[in-house]
C-alpha cells in the first residue's frame, strides 16, 4: 500500500471517529451522521481501490483522471450546500412563525402596569 493511500485511510478513519463522537454527544442528527459516515467510507474506498478514479474518469470520458475526482467532489459539495440552504430557509420560516406566535401570545399578557391603559382587543377605542 502506498504512502498516499495510508494518509487518506488515516484521514478517513479520523473523520469517521469525529463524526461518531459528535453523534454520541448528540451534536448531529442521525441523517447527517449517516451522510458524513458515507463520505468517510467513500474516501477510504478510493484509497483502497486506486484504479477507481481511472475507471470513473474513463466512464465519464475525462482524460485527466484527477479532474473526474475534482468534478465529483465539487458536485457533491454543491449538492450538499443546496440541501443545507433549503434547510436554513425552512428553519428560518419556522423560526419566524414561532416568534410571531410568541408575539401574539405575549400581547395577551402585557406587563402588569400596562394592563389598565391598553384597551382589550375587540373593544373599540
Amino acid at each position: 500500500m502506498s504512502r498516499s493511500s495510508i494518509i487518506v485511510l488515516v484521514f478517513s478513519a479520523a473523520f469517521a471517529v469525529a463524526v461518531l463522537l459528535s453523534a454520541r454527544r448528540r451534536r448531529t442528527s442521525e441523517h447527517h451522521t449517516f451522510s458524513w459516515l458515507l463520505v468517510s467510507l467513500l474516501t477510504a474506498g478510493l484509497a483502497l481501490w486506486r484504479n477507481a478514479i481511472d475507471t470513473l474518469a474513463a466512464a465519464m470520458g475525462i482524460y485527466y483522471a484527477p479532474s473526474a475526482l475534482f468534478f465529483v467532489v465539487c458536485g457533491g459539495l454543491v449538492w450538499m450546500l443546496f440541501r443545507l440552504s433549503l434547510q436554513v430557509a425552512e428553519q428560518r420560516r419556522q423560526l419566524q412563525r414561532l416568534a410571531q406566535e410568541l408575539a401574539v401570545l405575549s400581547a395577551e399578557r402585557p406587563p402588569p402596569g400596562d394592563r389598565a391603559s391598553a384597551p382589550a382587543p375587540g373593544s373599540a377605542g
Binding site: 401574539v104 405575549s106 402585557p110 373599540a124
Partner: protein, 231 residues
C-alpha cells in the same frame, strides 16, 4: 368602520414618535382599535406605544417588515377583526385617509392600496425613489393585469379573506409589491384609493441612492419569482 376594524402600526425603534402617532390615531378614529407590532426594537418603542393606548405585539427578535405585517394580520385573525389597515409607525401615513380605505373594504375589496400617485397632493419622495417606484409600478401592473400606481405603499387595508391568507402566506422580502401580486393571483379584488402621506416625524430613512437601485433590481426579481411560484 367601527368594531371589527384594527389599525396595525409597524414599528422598529420608533420610541421618539410612536406615542404621538398612536394618540393621533385614537383621537381621529375613536371607533377603531390600534395595535402596534414592535419588530424587536432595541429602544422603548413598546413602552411608548402602550402609554399611547395601543395593544402591543412584540417580536422577540427583529424579523423584518414582511413578518411584522403578517404578525399584525395573525393578531387580527386571532381576535376576530374583519378589516385591518396597516400603517407605518413613523407617522408618514395620514389618519384622515383611513376612512377612504375602510370604505373600499366595505365595498368588497380584499386588498386596498393607499396610493400617493392617484390624485392627492402628498409629501414628495426623492426623484430616484419616484423613478424606481414608476418602474416597479409598470412591471407589477403588467403582472397583475391591473393598474397599480403605488406598488411600494405600506398604507394598505385588508379584508377578511386577505387577513386569513396573508397571516400564513406572507411575502418573502418585499411585502408591499409582492403581496399585491400574491393577492392578484388569489383573485382577491384589489382597489387603489388616493391617500395623503407626510414626511416622517422622527428618524431618517435607511434608503440611499445605491440602496434604492438595488431595491429596484431585487424587487423586480422578487416579483418574477413570485409569479413563478405555485399559487
Amino acid at each position: 368602520m367601527g368594531a371589527g376594524t384594527l389599525i396595525v402600526l409597524l414599528a422598529y425603534n420608533e420610541e421618539a414618535c410612536i406615542a404621538d402617532v398612536v394618540t393621533e390615531l385614537r383621537r381621529e378614529l375613536p371607533d377603531v382599535d390600534v395595535a402596534v407590532v414592535d419588530d424587536g426594537s432595541r429602544d422603548e418603542t413598546s413602552e411608548r406605544a402602550r402609554e399611547g393606548g395601543a395593544r402591543v405585539v412584540r417580536h422577540p427578535i427583529n424579523l423584518g417588515v414582511a413578518a411584522a405585517e403578517a404578525t399584525g394580520l395573525l393578531y387580527a385573525l386571532r381576535h376576530g377583526y374583519s378589516r385591518v389597515v396597516r400603517m407605518d409607525g413613523d407617522g408618514q401615513h395620514d389618519p384622515h385617509s383611513v376612512p377612504a380605505l375602510l370604505k373600499a373594504l366595505e365595498g368588497g375589496a380584499e386588498l386596498v392600496v393607499g396610493s400617493r400617485f392617484a390624485g392627492v397632493e402628498s409629501f414628495r419622495s426623492t426623484w430616484l425613489r419616484r423613478f424606481g417606484s414608476g418602474l416597479i409600478s409598470r412591471l407589477l401592473s403588467s403582472l397583475c393585469r391591473q393598474r397599480i400606481t403605488d406598488p411600494t405603499s405600506g398604507f394598505r387595508g385588508f379584508g377578511p379573506r386577505a387577513i386569513r391568507y396573508f397571516s400564513t402566506h406572507f411575502p418573502h422580502d418585499y411585502p408591499e409589491p409582492e403581496s399585491v401580486l400574491m393577492a392578484s393571483r388569489q383573485r382577491f379584488p384589489i382597489v387603489e384609493v388616493p391617500v395623503k402621506m407626510r414626511s416622517r416625524r422622527a428618524g431618517v430613512s435607511s434608503l440611499t441612492p445605491w440602496r434604492s437601485t438595488f431595491y429596484m433590481a431585487k424587487v423586480s426579481f422578487a416579483l418574477f419569482m413570485e409569479r413563478f411560484r405555485a399559487v
